[in-house]
């Protein structure tokens, strides 16, 4: 849709004029990082960090302290415990360790399946010539517009009729289907960037489309796959709506997000549980995100965001 990062060749500075522009550039830069500008930047950075930090501290304080005083008193009166995590992970009423497994079991197939399908579809749209190709591609592209809410009631009916209701299959299928339009669009963009001569040369050598796909294109597409993979992983792990709709009543299937949201309703003032629970739910996406941030940003810039 948009390429927000056209590559610009840096302009080498001319020898004769280095003196004046440099000085001006330096002055401009100083002005940009003026005290007012720095203050605004620091205020924003602090506002964006403190809420999470406060809950993290809370998750490590004893239950009684959390009830009696704010988390900021931790710095004057540090009391540290892992009891909250123990309670939320293995406690009878919460059992987040099981939900953690559910989240993992939900997420992996919901990332692998749509990426594979989308890669094949994107290949067909990019490199196989057939009648109606453009019309079909535009149709798939346009499906990105459909809000998933529009599909939920009939899909649930289909799953109930098919005897799948309340199993992992409903969630795997739903996430895979919902991911396809955006995945095909993004991967198609990346695939089009590969030089046609590469594909044509392989075809001339007598390789069929399946061989070209696996031997020529797949190795070149690793960064694109990583980009969409991170994206889809975060999306599925953090999803509430799909899991709530299709597994809301099945305790063996529900992921962390669903139970956490439920706990806010039923145990809304038990902050020792909510804080620790929130961080159990957050730790995997945070690690994935920090480790693969580069790819995530690339994916973001290559298209736009699914919603």
């Amino acid at each position: 849709m948009t390429t927000t990062t056209p590559v610009m060749a840096p302009v080498p500075p001319g020898d004769r004029e280095t003196g004046r522009p440099r000085r001006r550039a330096a002055r401009a830069r100083r002005r940009l990082s003026s005290p007012a500008a720095s203050t605004i930047a620091v205020v924003i950075a602090v506002l964006w960090t403190v809420p999470t930090f406060g809950l993290l501290i809370t998750s490590l304080r004893p239950e009684l302290d959390i009830r009696r005083s704010g988390w900021w008193t931790f710095f004057t009166d540090p009391e540290f415990t892992l009891d909250n995590y123990n309670q939320v992970l293995y406690g009878g009423g919460t059992d987040f360790s099981t939900l953690f497994v559910n989240s993992l079991v939900i997420t992996l197939p919901s990332v692998v399946i749509p990426i594979t399908l989308a890669l094949l579809a994107a290949y067909a749209f990019a490199w196989i010539k057939f009648r109606g190709r453009n019309v079909l591609f535009v149709a798939v592209f346009a499906l990105q517009v459909v809000p998933i809410q529009v599909t939920l009631i009939p899909l649930l009916t289909l799953y109930v009729d098919g005897g799948l209701a309340g199993s992992f299959w409903t969630i795997w299928l739903s996430h895979s289907i919902f991911a396809l339009p955006l995945a095909i669009f993004l991967l198609h963009n990346f695939m089009k960037d590969i030089p046609a001569s590469l594909v044509e040369a392989a075809r001339m050598d007598g390789a069929g489309h399946v061989r070209v796909f696996f031997q020529v294109l797949l190795p070149l597409l690793t960064p694109a796959i990583a980009a969409f993979g991170v994206f889809q992983f975060l999306w599925v792990w953090n999803d509430l709506l799909v899991a709530l709709t299709f597994a809301g009543g099945a305790p063996d299937v529900v992921p962390l997000t669903v139970r956490l949201a439920e706990m806010v309703g039923t145990r809304g003032s038990d902050w020792y549980l909510l804080a620790a629970g929130a961080f159990v739910a957050m730790v995997v996406p945070l690690v994935v995100f920090l480790a693969l941030q580069r790819y995530f940003v690339r994916g973001l810039l290559a298209g736009s965001v699914k919603g």
Binding site: T2, T4, P6, P21, R31, L32, S33, A41, I44, W48, T49, G54, G70, W72, T98, V101, L108, V112, T116, L117, L120, A121, Y123, K129, F130, V140, L143, V146, Q149, V150, T151, I153, P154, L155, G166, S167, F168, L180, I184, G208, H209, V210, R211, N238, L240, G248, D252, T257, L260, V264, A275, A278, M282, P285, L286, V288, F289, L300, S304, V305
Partner: protein, 329 residues
């Protein structure tokens, strides 16, 4: 059969997951092998192998359900009796839904505008400074947190304790109020301001996205343009106003419309923080409540269709703006 549907131990669940992935791999592998015979295969067979499973899933899981929902929106709560536009009339006339619509408008206007403005200013301020990557990472991090997690984080910021001697505030915001001698507030309960406190959470999540895209756009502004402006003696604020903002206009439109669409469908934040009570509900949350809590399928379907219809003008605007900017180039 039971084994495939009900997994209740950790080992069983993981086995089922591996089975699902393997099943998928075997089916797809079989299809690809079938179309990759050494003999000449007609193109349509190859295309069917590459595209067939995807198109089948899209038809079954997106196209058919969407059409079915549109149909259902004209039927009563059990989907049995045709009632014309009654569901839509309810959505647009009943008092409760007036609040829902008003809230949705507030979200869709405020979140994109404030998010984009904040993201732009922040991206501009930290651009080419020494701590740029750290500064960006801090604002970007909420993107990795689920909206449910963000809801929990911010509920704690807004936490209220009655204003009595011996009771300490444990929510950061109320503690700040108390420090300034103001009475603590029930931020999430007092309407209509509570909607604004929920909107803050969405801005907090989305600002990282706006910042990232806009920062990339700022870096893509040609050096000679910036240099020329500097030679003309343009100040920092003027540079921002007359060089930076016009140069990244297409990126601004993309960010505004993308955030608007995500915001229109916001559900998790409202569900987690207030459950849609205290006059904070929005269309996407009301859809869930009507369809899956009240079991009024007709009304739920009408709300879903309304979401769909509201997305269309935003996309149309986006496409138009992109066309315009391409023409200029």
């Amino acid at each position: 059969m039971q084994w495939f549907l009900e997994a209740n131990s950790v080992g069983h669940k993981i086995a089922l997951m591996v089975f699902a992935i393997l099943l998928f791999a075997v089916v797809m592998g079989g299809i690809l092998l079938a179309v990759d015979r050494p003999k000449r295969v007609p193109t349509w067979v190859v295309v069917a192998g590459f595209l067939g499973p995807t198109l089948a899933l899209l038809l079954l899981g997106l196209v058919y359900p969407a059409l079915e929902t549109v149909r259902g929106s004209f039927y009563d709560r059990r989907g049995e009796e045709f009632i014309g536009f009654d569901n839509y009339v309810t959505v647009f006339t009943e008092d409760g839904f007036q609040t829902v619509l008003r809230n949705t408008v507030l979200w869709v206007v405020l979140v994109p505008v404030i998010t984009t403005a904040l993201g732009l200013v922040y991206a501009y301020l930290v651009d080419r400074t020494r701590f740029e990557s750290l500064a960006k990472a801090l604002v970007f991090l909420p993107m990795a947190i689920s909206m449910v997690g963000a809801g929990v984080i911010w509920r704690f910021v807004y936490e209220f304790r009655p204003d009595q001697p011996g009771v300490n505030q444990i929510g950061l915001l109320n503690q700040a109020l108390v420090l300034f001698g103001i009475e603590p507030q029930q931020f999430l309960i007092d309407a209509p301001s509570n909607t604004f406190y929920l909107i803050v959470v969405m801005i907090w999540i989305q600002a990282g996205f706006a910042m990232t895209v806009l920062s990339a756009a700022i870096k893509a502004i040609p050096d000679d343009v910036v240099e020329a402006a500097r030679l003309d003696g343009v100040s920092g604020v003027q540079m921002f106003r007359y060089v930076t903002v016009p140069s990244i206009r297409p990126a601004l439109v993309v960010v505004l419309t993308t955030v608007a669409i995500v915001t229109l469908k916001v559900f998790d934040i409202v569900r987690t923080m207030t459950g849609g009570n205290f006059a904070t509900s929005v269309v996407a949350n009301e859809f869930y409540t009507q369809a899956f809590r009240q079991f009024n399928f007709g009304l739920g379907a009408a709300l879903a269709v309304l979401l769909f219809i509201l997305v269309i003008p935003i996309i149309a605007y986006n496409v138009r703006q992109l066309r315009l900017s391409e023409e200029i180039r």
